[in-house]
């Protein structure tokens, strides 16, 4: 018996034989997730249909999950047409797992609906599909063409990568959290630091973190190039042998993590928050698949409670899902945020990818809890995007400059 990594064990269970690192295997994913890009994916199916001269039936309709979140509600007529096409497809192919606009961001809704199971194999037409690693799923992004292929055939190829082990110890200090940790990790490893690797999170702190923190960490694993970022199962699932061999090993002490900020235009351009006190902000954004969960809104509300957003600053809040929104509404988190001057947007991806809502003007600065600060990401290449935790963004909304939350809450 050889000690094996998570990904080897999972792929071996899937194909029913030994799998070596570097080997290519053909697998049938348990779940295929798509969002608004299901429309263009369906168009690819139609191209195939016209070439073979007959309709293609989706191979496994029960394994398909479609969640509309990217441009919701439709911004222009072409978005409406896209959504319409998806609704027609869902009906025609009898896809039951369809979540129309308003349910929330795909990476929040899919786990809420119970599709992110321990030891499951999930692919999605979105790079942040890796978020489900928080639930001990093997989950990674694929492109539109490949999603069309999975719809038609139910299968795809995967290469078994080598693995990295990241051990987590200790406990976060007040006003610091998972976002600061993952920015710290990416700052050290680099944007290509884990390219094509399976990243496993180990250690007492990894198992003990709340699921919202695990999701933030798994979500941003792709920002250092990882294929997956995965946590141990809570009960039954698949996990690496204690003696498994890793290409690289890292250890992080949560107590030593301070508020971190990724500066323009790279996610690995990470600095300590106190170095950036001179940077003025025009827009603050709390939400996205990285940091739009209840715990994120709650910490923002704690910082904003009884205070007002600085004049000249726009604070945008996007709850990650309807469920998150409802919980935040029932606990007065939402009313606290509204009273402070925040604008609440419907649960969805919103301004994160620059397709609609909260666009920036040239020269403006946005501090966001999202996962990408690429040039032009929020629709304007002459704007600057900084990334930070919900606590740092909330604190900065109060002062109008990038601010250490520990300073505001002293």
């Amino acid at each position: 018996m050889k000690a094996k990594t998570f990904i080897r064990k999972l792929l071996e269970r899937k194909v029913g034989r030994e799998v070596q690192e570097g080997e290519i295997v053909f697998v049938e994913p348990d779940i295929l997730m798509m969002h608004d890009n299901a429309g263009p994916i369906v168009k690819k199916l139609e191209v195939m249909e016209s070439e073979i001269g007959r309709k293609i039936k989706v191979k496994y309709p029960k394994r398909v999950v479609i969640i509309l979140d990217h441009v919701i509600p439709a911004d222009k007529q072409e978005d409406a047409l896209n959504h319409q096409k998806i609704r027609e497809f869902v009906k025609a192919q009898r896809i039951k797992n369809f979540y129309d606009i308003g349910r929330g961001i795909c990476h929040q809704v899919l786990p809420e609906e119970g599709f992110a199971v321990p030891g499951g194999l999930i692919v999605g037409s979105d790079s942040h599909t890796c978020t489900y690693g928080a639930f001990n799923s093997f989950a990674c992004g694929i492109d539109r063409t490949e999603a069309a292929g999975v719809l038609a055939t139910g299968k795809m190829w995967l290469k078994c990568p080598r693995s990295y082990k990241i051990e987590l110890y200790g406990k976060f200090r007040k006003w610091t959290g998972a976002k600061d940790l993952i920015l710290n990790i990416i700052g050290i490893l680099g944007a290509d630091g884990a390219t094509y690797k399976a990243v496993e999170f180990h250690g007492p702190a990894a198992s003990g973190l709340p699921i919202s923190d695990k999701m933030t960490l798994a979500n941003m694993s792709v920002e250092m190039g990882a294929k997956i970022g995965v946590f141990p199962p809570k009960n039954s699932g698949i996990w690496a042998s204690a003696m498994a061999c890793y290409e690289k090993n890292f250890a992080f002490d949560l107590d030593a993590i301070s508020p971190q900020v990724a500066c323009p235009h790279r996610v690995d351009n990470v600095k300590n928050v106190e170095e950036l006190w001179k940077v003025k902000v025009d827009q603050c954004l709390i939400g996205t698949c990285t940091n739009g969960r209840y715990e994120d809104l709650e910490i923002a509300a704690k910082i904003l409670f009884g205070k007002k957003v600085a004049s000249g600053v726009r604070l945008l809040i996007l709850p990650a899902s309807r469920k998150v929104y409802q919980k935040a509404a029932s606990t007065r988190v939402i009313s606290t945020l509204l009273t402070s001057g925040a604008v609440i947007l419907p649960p969805g991806c919103g301004p994160c990818l620059g397709a609609h809502q909260g666009a920036l003007a040239p020269g403006e600065v946005c501090l966001s809890t999202a996962n990408r600060n690429f040039k032009g990401r929020m629709g304007c290449k002459k704007a600057e995007i900084y990334l930070a935790s919900p606590a740092t963004v909330a604190a900065s909304a109060l002062t109008g400059r990038i601010t250490d939350p520990r300073e505001v809450m002293r």
């Binding site: 694929i142 492109d143 063409t145 490949e146 069309a148 190829w157 290509d192 397709a355 990408r372 629709g379």
Partner: protein, 157 residues
């Protein structure tokens, strides 16, 4: 002579720069290709041209418009120090030749001719020749059929 677009001085060039997010839910428009990376690219590029890139080329979003676009304008090959994972898969899916060869990229000097022989697995940069390993056989089939959709059509027929 084929033109060489050399972007190798920048690592982790992302797909937002290659095809901005504000266009990804609109009909594909080739004129946006590389818009935030090099606005001159689309004006200059001709079939048969080659791209040189640094580490982690194609980082970020899973959008495939950059690879679809490069295939459409007739890029012969992208030679990079390394590729981002989803981008690399997109290359296979679209039948675009992506070659990982840090040696070839580093050997390039302004004005060098670059030739690729995919059958022989050879890259010529100026006077130097570099070998690159063939794709695994399972994936060669997809590339040979001209991409994943054509490959599946063959299977479904």
């Amino acid at each position: 002579m084929r033109r060489v677009f050399n972007y190798s001085s920048i690592d982790s060039i992302n797909t937002d720069q290659m095809y901005p997010g504000k266009y990804v839910y609109q009909d594909f428009d080739i004129n946006h290709l590389f818009e935030d990376l090099d606005p001159e690219f689309i004006k200059k590029v001709k079939p048969g041209d080659i791209i040189l890139a640094g580490k982690n080329f194609g980082y970020g979003s899973s959008r495939e418009q950059p690879v679809v676009g490069l295939k459409k304008v007739g890029i012969k090959a992208v030679i990079a120090k390394s590729f981002a994972r989803i981008f690399y898969r997109s290359g296979i899916n679209q039948g675009l030749l992506l070659i990982e060869s840090p040696e070839a990229v580093e050997a390039y000097k302004e004005g060098d001719g670059v030739e690729v022989d995919s059958k022989e697995g050879k890259i010529r940069v100026g006077k130097n020749t570099f070998q690159f390993p063939p794709l695994p056989v399972e994936l060669q089939e997809i590339l040979k059929d001209g991409g994943l959709l054509a490959h599946i059509v063959k299977e479904l027929k």
